[in-house]
Symmetry: C2
């Protein structure tokens, strides 16, 4: 499979390969997360339980899989990137818990289960999110977990991840998303929200893997671009699914008056934009051989998933 | 001034020296924080404003000053420890904002000003806290800010700070503090809460400075012990001030039914324990010369401050 001969909607054989790949990597990530966040005997059990509740609630592990697949795409071993992969899943989980809070999106359900603050309490959900975010940076800086890693490389990756998920990235995007609720949103502001709220974390997932896998500067840049575009496509598809799954009724984002790509540009243009982004993401990988096939399949999967 | 000849309540001359020292270091920390968190043109202004509101709301900068003083006590330069000092103040600020939230301590005021969520909104206060915590780790991992620092050393310090403020430290303590509200608390549980909620951050402040200042293993251990004891004394004095300042009425912590040292052990025993802790903290510094005088004065100041 190469960028030239790709079919955007995956043929069955490719889909089977991807499903097998993702399952294998998901198990690898889950095992690593279990080691990272056990019900530690010397930690208060309530907060550990709250942290684990959302961390092990059936996520697809898309972001950590992207980290591992990007490391392999540049010829590295996935294991080298495993601490960053776990950290990014911890960060993703914290962002879901805080996003669901009553004063933010006020979502009672997440992945078909009660959201964190509904099961525990609002205070516990805030602290569980804080603890997951902090744990993410501990995982990336704990020397015992990083036997083969160059400290300077790891420090740089941790710094890039922090930048991507803080005020200059994900949290910045979440903030503008909240402030813009119920307001008319310019296309440029919508791009800012999507680039930061969603795409920044997916982009840094791919980029971290490429750096830790030992990729060249050019390879790292290409995979970062791939990640950014795949991340934007992911958000647009998310918004499209929100509409189609809610059927006659309005989707959750529409109820909140959130700025979405389909709301601003219409459904048809949103579909076209998704295809265009994935084509560009695949083009970014044109210099890579078969080692990047998982990345190519993931991009197509993101664009054409139905949940 | 040495551990042997100390007077626990600082004579006027010592107090003047400490005031001058703290003012100088506070200005150094404030300048560094201004560089770290400017009203960045490419960041959403609302969240930056919320972050800066509490960060620049008149804190004494006790923790970052401890970082710098500990670096100097082992013969290092304060500048080497400045990124960690700033990071710790960012973390302290985030913890205050999240602690004040309606679902946690529900405090409308902080340092005589409206608390973050009262000025902005609950959602913005949650995100401002998240962003400050993330920024703390960015500051410690951004290579451009660390020209003279050994990456392995910095990675190790960032990891120790993460451990001290996460589920195994500060957040763990905050959680138990919330869960225990209105319940009878065993002395051992109270020790857990104080050791983690307050003392862990003060201990790691001193420890980080000693490590980054190039201290020997023994020096780092002594200064860590000093920090832990000073941190515990700080919390007990905080609880005592909460009672004395509220006069006839109950203090804020009493209203919340929080476990405090005076509530469990009585006021007199609390004062004795403070003196004992500070004496032990000073004894930890007995192997140090005059370079540790600022640390000695800070411990006495912590024990006998009136606000």
């Amino acid at each position: 499979m190469s960028a030239g001969e790709h079919s955007l909607s995956l043929p069955e054989e490719e889909m089977l390969l991807l499903t097998g790949y993702m399952q294998e990597k998901q198990e690898q990530v889950d095992r690593a997360l279990e080691e990272i966040l056990p019900p530690a005997p010397d930690c208060p059990s309530d907060i550990v339980e709250a942290m684990r509740y959302t961390l092990f609630s059936g996520g697809k592990r898309l972001r950590p899989i992207l980290v591992l697949a990007s490391a392999e795409a540049v010829g590295g071993r996935g294991e080298q990137a495993l601490p960053a992969a776990c950290a990014i899943e911890l960060i993703h989980t914290y962002s879901l818990i805080h996003d669901d809070l009553p004063s933010v999106d006020n979502d009672d359900y997440r992945r078909g289960k009660l959201s964190n603050h509904k099961v525990f309490s609002e205070a516990m959900a805030i602290f569980a999110g804080d603890a997951l975010l902090t744990h993410a940076f501990m995982v990336m800086t704990d020397a015992r977990r990083l036997p083969d890693t160059d400290p300077a490389l790891m420090l740089g990756v941790a710094g890039e991840i922090a930048r991507a998920v803080g005020v200059e990235g994900m949290v910045g995007g979440q903030t503008v998303d909240i402030i813009s609720q119920g307001r008319e949103v310019e296309p440029s502001l919508l791009d800012y929200i999507h680039s930061n709220k969603t795409a920044a974390l997916i982009r840094i997932s791919a980029r971290s893997g490429a750096i830790l896998g030992g990729g060249s500067e050019e390879e790292v840049r290409a995979i970062s671009d791939y990640g950014g575009k795949t991340g934007l496509a992911f958000q647009i598809v998310d918004d499209l699914l929100d509409i189609s799954q809610s059927g006659e009724t309005e989707g959750g984002d529409q109820q909140l008056g959130k700025a979405t790509y389909p709301a601003v540009h219409g459904v048809e243009k949103s579909r076209q934009r998704t295809v265009q982004l994935i084509e560009e993401a695949l083009a970014d990988l044109s210099g890579f051989g078969p080692a990047a096939d998982p990345l190519r399949r993931i991009a197509c999967f993101v664009a054409f998933r139905d949940h």
